[in-house]
């Protein structure tokens, strides 16, 4: 632009200008191409870099640590082969923690899915003040698990606890929520259920609203009552959503830490490890006993367990959906 705007300047200077300008255009074009090519990778790189550094590497390195003597303060020691795993698999504490983790997981996931389904079905009606009710069931989600645990810890207190006081009023014996195995699991599962039922209810509700309404109309014409509609239409149509919720709650639920840690002020999972979970055990071995080697062995075993269960979940859900497809085909054939 400068060269054409200054015609009085002739000779080598203007040539020089022209060359420089061409070069500039060329450079910015190259910059533009570079911009198009490299930008996408640049934009997605923060996630990948962070995931590798704080997610993937630590997870894999846990395997390396588990084959060594490794102290929290002194650091790496000798390589010991499978010694840490051997210790863990022969430890009473470990098997108790596995039992507790699965027990708490079942006690929290099964009732949660059932209650969430029923609540979602109720919320799916043509309600007044829809948003109010939906927000209402979601309130517990914003309360930290630690706070939930403190509140329910008092509700479930062995002495002068509210639930035991109510039991006494109706003439029942108090339950030792903290010292017995199953009651402590029920108490901890209740905390988990309190926080997550509303959340899952909304996921189910969204899936229910996506079910075509004419299915219900057809069922109504066939004379199906509401309960029958729920079991014959709603539940089968919700299968993908249910699989999604089961998979995510398995991965999260088997790593449960906060609630059992906060169930008493010592956080060791009870005198007899009644409610010590696997993740609690990892913390105890690693930071209380300063034995990173054994803690890593436990972490790695839990990782493998989650992997296997996820795989089983995946295969089961694939089988269910392919069965369903086959069933649908058969039905079609019968109808034809």
């Amino acid at each position: 632009m400068t060269s054409t705007g200054t015609p009085q300047l002739a000779g080598p200077t203007s040539d020089d200008e022209r060359v420089r300008q061409q070069r500039r255009v060329g450079f910015s074009q190259r910059l533009g191409r570079w911009d198009v090519k490299v930008s996408p990778y640049l934009y997605i790189s923060p996630f990948f870099i962070l995931f590798i550094v704080v997610g993937l590497f630590p997870l894999l390195y846990t395997g390396y640590v588990s084959f060594h003597k490794w102290d929290l303060l002194a650091g790496k020691g000798d390589s010991v082969g499978f010694e840490n795993f051997d210790w863990v698999l022969h430890s009473d504490m470990f098997w108790k923690s596995v039992r507790n983790t699965f027990s708490i997981f079942l006690l929290s996931s099964v009732p949660q899915v059932i209650i969430a389904l029923v609540l979602a079905a109720i919320l799916d009606a043509n309600l007044r003040a829809k948003t109010f009710w939906r927000m209402g069931v979601l309130v517990p989600y914003v309360v930290a698990p630690v706070a939930v645990s403190l509140i329910f810890g008092q509700l479930f207190a062995d002495q002068s606890g509210t639930i035991n006081a109510i039991l006494a009023k109706v003439g029942m014996d108090p339950i030792l929520w903290h010292s017995h195995v199953l009651p402590s699991h029920i108490a901890i599962a209740t905390m988990v259920n309190f926080r997550w039922t509303g959340y899952n209810t909304l996921i189910f509700l969204a899936a229910m609203q996506a079910i075509p309404r004419d299915l219900y109309e057809a069922a109504l014409i066939d004379g199906a009552k509401r309960v029958r509609q729920f079991f014959s239409i709603t539940i089968p149509m919700l299968r993908p959503t249910m699989i999604f919720i089961i998979v995510t709650s398995t991965i999260g639920g088997l790593q449960i830490f906060d609630e059992p840690r906060m169930f008493d002020q010592n956080g060791r999972g009870g005198a007899d490890q009644q409610y010590l979970t696997v993740t609690n055990l990892i913390y105890q071995l690693g930071w209380t006993n300063r034995n990173f080697g054994r803690a890593s062995a436990v972490a790695w075993i839990l990782f493998l367990m989650i992997l296997v269960i996820s795989l089983v979940n995946y295969l089961l859900s694939r089988r269910i959906s392919s069965d369903e497809a086959a069933g649908a085909k058969k039905r079609k054939k019968v109808r034809a």
């Binding site: 533009g32 309130v139 914003v142 309360v143 509210t162 839990l302």
Partner: protein
């Protein structure tokens, strides 16, 4: 002549009139084939709501009483006592740095939310709208990482932080959460449908660089989903316990860890512990009252797509 559509009413008579008309229509005909439900439905819902709220109210009741009251009346009366402010003051005066932990929680939650929104939108923009080699497999990889139990890598993560000299520092909590797979996936899905290619092309023709296109076109278009993502990240960060509990220590902790220390210090005085619980819940309850609608919508949208 048929009645004017709700949209038409909105155009001529404003939003308020449209809302009234829509409500009237729903009342008269119901939406679709459905009738208004009967009282049984509302009774069940009210019970569900009471179960949602009672534990919080219970914490408030205990926080406003004394430890003697709690011992004498295990079932608290529904009328709050008069010791709330006294108990709150005692929590702040206690030697556990409660106020400092509130500040830390705010710092961590705000930085984490802003960063997750920015980096997730950036990555989502690339995945949804830019063409590059390996796009498909990389996106599948992102989704797959949501199923990886990264919490099980705490031991090496702790070693990394030790190498960096970050043990006990807030950045040890902030940095690992700067961008999440969920966030990237969420923004990718939203931008795929919400951002037309024409807008991007127009910006490119006008000579905007990629980053300017992102900043001026994609980011504004991503606003609704970005708000929801920010809210979810804020709640997750505010309630996070496991990693801060491991890596932070002394007075420099976040709120959930401070609550644990409160429990260890005052395990005999439930009224003080509950005062701490109430203090930790109030900020998020306020946030919920302001933005709970978006949280509900966010969960429901995520469910249909995911």
């Amino acid at each position: 002549m048929s009645a004017p559509s709700v949209a038409a009413i909105e155009q001529f008579a404003g939003k308020g009139a449209a809302r009234t008309a829509a409500r009237k229509r729903n009342r008269d005909y119901g939406s679709g084939s459905e009738r208004r439900p009967r009282w049984l439905t509302y009774t069940l819902l009210t019970i569900a709501l009471l179960i949602s709220f009672y534990p919080l109210y219970y914490a408030f009741l205990l926080a406003s009483s004394t430890s003697d009251d709690i011992a004498r009346h295990p079932i608290p009366s529904l009328i709050p006592g008069s010791h709330l402010f006294h108990n709150i003051k005692e929590v702040f005066d206690a030697d556990i740095g409660f106020w400092h932990s509130v500040q830390n929680s705010v710092i961590v939650a705000v930085i984490t939310s802003l960063s997750v929104v920015l980096f997730s939108t950036l990555a989502g923009f690339a995945f949804a709208k830019l063409r590059f080699k390996g796009r498909g497999p990389l996106l599948v990889f992102v989704i797959a990482t949501t199923a990886v139990p990264t919490q099980l890598g705490v031991i090496p993560l702790f070693m990394v932080m030790k190498e960096l000299g970050w043990v006990g520092q807030l950045q040890a909590v902030i940095v690992p959460g700067l961008v999440t797979a969920f966030g990237v996936f969420w923004m990718t899905q939203y931008l795929e449908s919400a951002l037309p290619y024409e807008l991007i092309e127009a910006a490119r023709v006008d000579g905007a660089s990629m980053f300017r296109t992102f900043w001026n076109i994609a980011l504004p278009a991503a606003r609704p989903a970005a708000t929801m993502l920010g809210l979810f990240t804020f709640v997750t960060s505010w309630t996070n316990f496991f990693w801060p509990f491991i890596i932070l220590s002394g007075d420099n902790v976040t709120l959930p860890v401070a609550l644990m220390r409160l429990q260890a210090t005052f395990f005999k005085d439930m009224s003080l512990i509950m005062a701490g619980v109430v203090l930790s819940v109030i900020p998020l309850l306020v946030l919920f009252i302001i933005a709970g609608r978006q949280l509900v919508a966010g969960i429901m949208q995520g469910a249909v797509k995911g």
